[in-house]
Amino acid sequence: MPVLELREITKVFPGVIANERVSLELEKGEIVALLGENGAGKTTLMNVVYGLLSADGGEILMDGEPAKIKSPRQAIDHGIGMVHQHFMLVEPLTVTENIVLGREPGRLGVIDFKIARERVIEISQRYGLKIDPDARIEDLSVGMQQRVEILKALFQGARVLILDEPTAVLTPQEVRELFGVVRSLVDEGLSVVFITHKLEEVMAVADRIVVMRDGRVVGETRPEDTDEIGLARMMVGRDVVLRVEKPVSTCGDTVLEVSDLHADDERGLEAVKGVSFSVCGGEVVAVAGVSGNGQTELVDCIVGLRRPTGGTMHLKGKDITHASARSSIEAGVSHIPEDRHRRGLVLEFDLAENLILGDHRTPPYSTRGLLHPKAVTTMARKRIDDYDVRTPSEKVIASNLSGGNQQKLVVAREIGRDPELLVAAQPTRGLDVGAIEFVHRQILDERAEGKAVLLVSLELEEVLSLADRILVMYEGRIVREFTADEADEETLGYYMTGGGGVKLDDDARQAGPIESGGDA
């Protein structure tokens, strides 16, 4: 008998059927990967199971018994735990305090922290999830925070654990550790639903793969019966090119010239420590590095969101060292921001309003402070068409789009502006294969048109497949430069994590100003 069974779950949002009679079974000790593009209905389905949404039809059974789940509290009582994409932890509190939150052991409202701590240690040992019970959440890495979320679910007595896109925020090492953890959990008799759109993860971790598309289950398979190409076809509904082919770069004039750039982070600590490089037209230069090594601050400087503390930047010979975000846009810099919800879109605006963001001051969208709705609508419809944003109309509010379509919207705006330099930070984070393929093609089209592209990515595969040159950033410095054919994941990973660190300063100097056919 399956631990968890979903029978014909249907969930309708105004105008959209998110889940259409979806059935799913989960056996004890099994890892089921729920695979699908963004907007396929995976998360909606699991939010129904976890009681965050109520289904419009169908039923949920636990151990063969119909279960009424109307709130997360009831889901927890039934032994269902869920780890969301965005963690729900209280940052200033300790690991133990977070784990027991809501179910604190103790009497008369007084929490017995000694018992709490012991139970946390006991659970962490039983499942092999090592953690310091007294560490503060804010001091932990993202991977460790996720571990706390998992421990919290286990503490609450979860027998079924739902992991919603658990690897989206992790480094390759942390992903491998997570897979180990998931394995040990099922060895202990738990069952896991693993929501993802990443094919290689599915192949690595799942016992069984359920593929969703457009709110329906379109297929079920096992890793041994398929390969990544086959999964991609099931997921997208057509053949997908996983590796992009590109012609050899024809480097034109130097577009971006950064020399000896220094910048501080929010805390006032130096995050960019003397970075020099250049990007020429028709070239994709990638900055590879583990998150938090100064890439964000570097990008912020180039797009005018952060004042450098030293050094210079030139765009086509023009000094943009102290340019504001506005003059940076006007100078021809487009920016696909790392965090599209925060920086890329105004989610409450409709698509047309989002598509003029940053261009709203310039003709034909406005003259003398007056907007021209007709010009805006015409452009919006064209962009939505050209960039394949799936939407019924340009009047739809951006928050109603799926993640992939939101990113396409940002890409449509930033590339549609026809910039000199495209700065793309994590442009495919959280996207499914279909959308990734699309964004990659757009970036390479820009390159083919002779535009300069600076790509910042944590995804080594993306870096390797798109870049002509790769700069490895570690602790605020560029420690190594590779051409595309010199590099592989192992070498990049080695330098990204501080390998060769003994000679760090020498390397930094050697990899200093990089000539690329332009003037120094």
Binding site: S324, V346, G358, H360
Partner: protein, 375 residues
């Protein structure tokens, strides 16, 4: 599937309109319902109370005029607070800006005596807007420069503004006589009553024009609501205002100066509140005194909430609050229910609007029922 997608835009538009208008309507209805229960539980006749309330606010042209009269300043302050909200700012100090606007109008009306109304009236209106904007400017700069919260600063400036006016009307600007008030502004500086625009014969023939004390300020108010709507929808100023209100980070990334937008938004909000002061002086009191505003700046917050910060929505919302206040006297006089009960009903309207989720729950449940019937 494709059918349901094609049907989407029209359906969604209908849904959004329903939600935009529906929630405030349901909120107002719930407020009346709960209000009746309170009146009834306090030992009064709720039916009689509401009948009297209706009679006093909408019972005849004079009563309707009274409702309009009380709605006029609320339209301006509602617009003021709503415009600020659209930039993510809570201008809680519209009352102070209103006092400064009133001061500018009362002072200029006297100083410019002798000039024709076509010159005086526009000057007074513009000056009062500038005075309101100036009063919001310092909190705006403090917010933009050092992040001082506008709720605190605009509130503090309200006290300064009110007591400044108090001092002026007992001191430097005091008219001769016992009463602490300024000299009356001459007729050519006043906004005339609507019924004064028509001849006795016309009024006889068209009795609905006998709108009592309602004055031309209503025309200015409605025009201003339309203007604010146009600004928000069709200008880059309004676009940036809304963008910053929704998402300052994305705005910053798009090269919009969040600080400058904040300053502009608070000053425009202050200007609108300043106008409320001038219409009260020019249309109602014709002079300035200590208590010339009965908290219109604060009621404006409720009006903006009820209107969901929509400039056109502010008009009916202000009329509702105007009607409640106009009918309160009749309610006390005829149904013997204390006027203060009206404050409870006003508070309930605000409560239900603020507690939108409660209302939405009702609406959704009905939709769900409708859907399951359809399915």
């Amino acid at each position: 599937m494709s059918d349901s997608r094609e049907g989407l835009p029209a359906q969604r538009r209908w849904m959004t309109v329903l939600q935009k208008v529906g929630t405030p309507l349901v909120s107002a209805a719930l407020a009346v319902l709960v209000g009746s229960i309170i009146i009834w539980a306090s030992g009064y006749d709720a039916g009689a109370a509401f009948a009297a309330l209706f009679k006093g606010s909408l019972g005849g042209p004079k009563q309707i005029g009274d409702t309009i009269l009380r709605a006029i300043p609320l339209i301006f302050t509602g617009l003021a607070v709503g415009y600020g909200f659209r930039a993510g700012l809570f201008n809680i100090g519209a009352e102070g800006q209103l006092f400064l606007g009133g001061l500018a109008a009362a002072w200029l009306g006297v100083v410019l005596a002798g000039l024709p109304w076509i010159i005086v009236v526009p000057i007074m209106i513009i000056a009062s807007a500038l005075a309101g904007a100036a009063w919001a400017f310092i909190p705006a700069i403090l917010k933009a420069r050092i992040g001082a919260h506008e709720v605190i600063t605009t509130m503090m400036f309200t006290y300064i503004g009110r007591y400044l006016v108090s001092w002026l009307v007992i001191g430097p600007l005091k008219a001769p006589g016992q009463i602490p008030q300024t000299v009356a502004i001459p007729p050519e500086a006043q906004l005339p009553r609507i019924q004064e625009l028509f001849s006795a014969g016309t009024l006889e023939a068209l009795p609905f024009l006998q709108l009592g004390r309602a004055h031309l300020g209503i025309v200015v108010a409605v025009l201003m609501a339309v203007l604010v709507w146009v600004i928000l929808k069709y200008t880059t100023l309004g676009y940036e205002n809304r963008a910053v209100g929704f998402n300052p980070w994305a705005s910053e990334t798009a090269g919009i100066s969040v600080q400058w937008t904040t300053v502009k938004a608070l000053c425009i909000s202050g200007a609108l509140a300043g106008l409320a002061g001038s219409v009260e002086v020019m249309g109602v009191h014709h002079r300035l005194f200590d208590q010339f505003s009965s908290g219109f700046g604060f009621t404006g917050i409720a009006v903006a909430l009820l209107a969901k910060n929509h400039p056109i929505g502010v008009i009916p919302a202000a009329l509702l609050f105007g009607a409640l206040s106009a009918g309160a006297g009749t309610m006390q006089f005829e149904a013997d229910v204390p006027q203060k009960i009206i404050l409870i009903i006003q508070a309930l309207v605000i409560f239900f609007v603020a507690a939108e989720e409660i209302v939405l729950w009702f609406v959704r449940r009905r939709q769900k029922e409708a859907m399951s019937h359809a399915g």
